[in-house]
């Protein structure tokens, strides 16, 4: 067995309390416990995080770049989802 048999993991780091976990990169590890330890050594050597997630890369479902336009189209024709869509008379406060 060689190291390529170690699966790939995606690493997510919460940089401080109050923020979401953000994707930091990936690494190889034989299991989740090792992935966490390796992620600590690789991505948080300078206190970059207060919490780590590791996820097997194979467990991620991604949208396809091919379908980019149709997939995200439903959001494009709904400007009324944005606050700037609405006209409010000048002088009205706290709105």
């Amino acid at each position: 067995m060689t190291d390529t048999d170690w699966p790939l993991w995606e690493v997510f780091v919460r940089s401080r309390r109050g923020l979401s976990h953000t994707h930091a990169g990936s690494l190889h590890a034989p299991d989740a416990a090792f992935a966490l330890r390796n992620a600590r050594d690789l991505y948080t050597r300078r206190g970059e995080g207060v919490s780590l997630w590791v996820v097997p890369s194979s467990a991620i479902t991604a949208s396809s770049p091919d379908e980019k336009d149709p997939f995200f189209e439903p959001a494009a024709d709904k400007p009324y989802r944005h606050p700037t869509f609405y006209e409010i008379p000048e002088g009205v406060k706290h709105l």
Partner: protein, 337 residues
């Protein structure tokens, strides 16, 4: 399609249309060109020209190899560091270089390269690493000269790569550059301590700078008119500045830094050119560069031998960790059943 994992590459997209669907290929190319032109990033699952992918894999792999081979000349001094403070600093730096290698191997993997294949190509000499690491570290002052000059040259090269058109490579570079500035500063501080020390210490610092200066200038690669891949890499926005431009920038930065160190740079032709607004410097010995690149540098053989030995001696660790993981996963499987 929608079930593909985040890293799965879009290599097949070029032929994703019906067979012989040239229009589809054309459209992909146009989307790629427009993305690069707009200074947006290409991401792993996007379609990209085969040559763009191959160029990136070659460059990122060579960069990754340089990071991990670069651990050797400095690690050579860890056990002989003159104080606990210096030892802790050096260990942290060498560990960072390992990390840089791992960020970069991951970036190469997003292009469809496999980690084992890349390491195999390094071990068998089919992929290169920076020729600078084929020079020996003869004294403690070399650790300082490497931090100041070699990491300094690397930073000059890497800062523009933070805006490289390939997203994962650019992101890895942002992380690397943040860490490099400590590398350079610790080297400078180390040299400064020696330069201000005894006569012998000062001489040792000067000797290290004398040996590392020219190889550091070679790190920027051959002159522009001899650089084979430069034009295409610039067009793809993988590269943002030419070799000679970056080299000039580096020299301009180093000259005043050397003065503050109280050390000289080993080049009698080095002088400020008012007209050009840059320092003029003497000719670089490209024959030496080519010889080292060909494998005839002082340490080429030693670096690869040591790298392979480390890899082979670590095999049992990789194997037992994998065996443990396999055993553990079948056990939990049984318990859950």
């Amino acid at each position: 399609m929608a079930t593909a994992a985040a890293h799965q590459t879009a290599r097949t997209h070029g032929s994703a249309g019906q067979e012989g669907d040239i229009d589809a290929d054309d459209t992909y190319q146009r989307v790629f060109d427009a993305t690069v032109a707009a200074d947006e990033r290409i991401e792993p699952r996007d379609w990209m020209p085969d040559a763009y992918r191959a160029t990136l894999v070659r460059q990122i792999a060579q960069h990754a190899h340089s990071e991990i081979i670069g651990m050797q000349p400095e690690a050579n001094w860890i056990t002989r560091a003159p104080s606990l403070r210096r030892k802790a600093i050096l260990m942290a730096k060498v560990q960072d270089e390992a990390g840089h290698g791992l960020y970069l191997y991951s970036a190469a993997e997003t292009l469809g390269a496999s980690r084992e294949d890349l390491l195999d190509k390094l071990h068998t000499g089919r992929q290169k690493y920076s020729s600078i690491f084929n020079y020996p570290t003869l004294t403690w002052a070399d650790v300082g000269a490497i931090g100041w000059l070699v990491d300094g040259a690397a930073i000059t090269n890497q800062v523009p790569l933070c805006r490289c058109s390939y997203g994962p490579y650019a992101r890895a570079m942002v992380r690397v550059c943040k860490e490099e500035s400590f590398h350079q500063r610790q080297g400078y501080e180390l040299l400064l301590a020696l330069s201000r020390g005894t006569t012998e210490q000062h001489a040792m610092a000067q000797d290290a700078v004398d040996r590392w200066w020219w190889p550091s200038l070679m790190m920027f690669g051959p002159p522009d008119d001899e650089s084979a891949h430069s034009a295409q890499s610039m067009a793809w926005k993988i590269k943002r500045h030419s070799n000679d431009e970056l080299r000039r920038r580096f020299v301009d930065i180093c000259v005043p830094q050397a003065e503050s160190l109280g050390l000289t740079l080993p080049d009698p032709d080095l002088k400020w050119n008012e007209e050009r607004g840059h320092y003029d410097f003497g000719p670089i010995d490209w024959t030496e560069f080519k010889e080292v690149l060909k494998g005839n540098g002082p340490c080429n053989e030693q670096r690869i031998t040591q790298r392979k030995a480390a890899h082979d001696e670590g095999a049992w660790v990789r194997e037992s960790a994998a065996a443990y993981a396999a055993k553990h996963s079948t056990r939990t499987g049984v318990e859950q059943a």
